[in-house]
Symmetry: C2
Subunit: 172 residues, 2 copies
């Protein structure tokens, strides 16, 4: 991560990353399929975290409420790691391949949330729509939070955006 | 496209594509930055088409209505090209890099729709939320349409999914 910031993502080699981390290249490839994955190594724990909250939401919660609770909790997680998140995002922002990888990770998260909703008995297409809507709110809130100042509260932005989504889809 | 179907995307070389199309490799690269782009060459006309419909929607239409009209029109476009769309999708489905490229094209479409809404005077975050919601409905409807039979009507699925999105976000 430091190397990506210092030399840029493209200029950084796997050999350099491995050296900085005190690993051989071979060990590096045991952990990561490529150097892009270094930036997305947290994705599967994030997924477990989200899925856990959706699964554990009160039974009477509507699908979108369970998703909103999960997304707001993720926002708290990022809030606590604001500086790291900003640095990571500035690396991703400079490279199209990293943006593509990020989008596929978000698509995977969306599918995992939809699956968690179906396990709560939510039918299709509601499960997928609620999951997609949740990730959409996350993306837009994330962009606003990251371009805002230190004081802006990510989970509050998430809640405001869920309210706004309701207004957008219903007009009231 | 035929070659991707016959030999698989990975096994097909730019030289083979160029030969089949009666082009030199050099000419190929004048039109496409890489062989992935062949599958996404329609993306910019699709974008112009969507943006045109959003821009031309009746003034009193709410943002989500303008987006729904645009997405339903795109559905008609795909419906008329069902066989080609199915073949293209089966190539994309086998390759992660192509799926990544597709996701970034959808993200570009989303940004273009949001921009078209802002030009209609829609403020943020409503413009981005309506655009994201629209693309989410498109994706989910597309999956259902493509896995259905010949008779399933894509634009009707789109309208049903917009209705369902309203139910999902409001509970009524």
């Amino acid at each position: 991560m430091d190397l990506y910031g210092e030399h840029g993502f493209e200029q950084t080699t796997v050999a350099e990353i491995a050296e900085r981390a005190g690993l051989t290249e071979r060990t590096f490839f045991r952990y990561f399929v490529d150097k892009r994955e270094v930036l997305f190594s947290g994705a599967s724990s994030l997924e477990q975290f989200l899925v856990g909250i959706v699964a554990g939401a009160p039974e009477q919660d509507r699908p979108i409420e369970a998703v909103a609770t999960a997304i707001a909790s993720v926002a708290d997680f990022f809030q606590e790691r604001r500086e790291f998140t900003l640095r990571r995002q500035s690396v991703i922002g400079t490279n199209t391949e990293l943006q593509e990888r990020e989008l596929i990770k978000l698509a995977t998260l969306t599918a995992a949330i939809a699956e968690a909703l179906r396990r709560r008995g939510v039918r299709e297409p509601s499960a997928s729509l609620a999951a997609e809507a949740g990730i959409a709110v996350f993306k837009i809130s994330f962009e606003r939070w990251i371009s805002g100042n230190d004081e802006s509260n990510f989970s509050q932005i998430v809640h405001e955006h869920f309210d706004e989504l309701r207004v957008v889809t219903t007009g009231c």
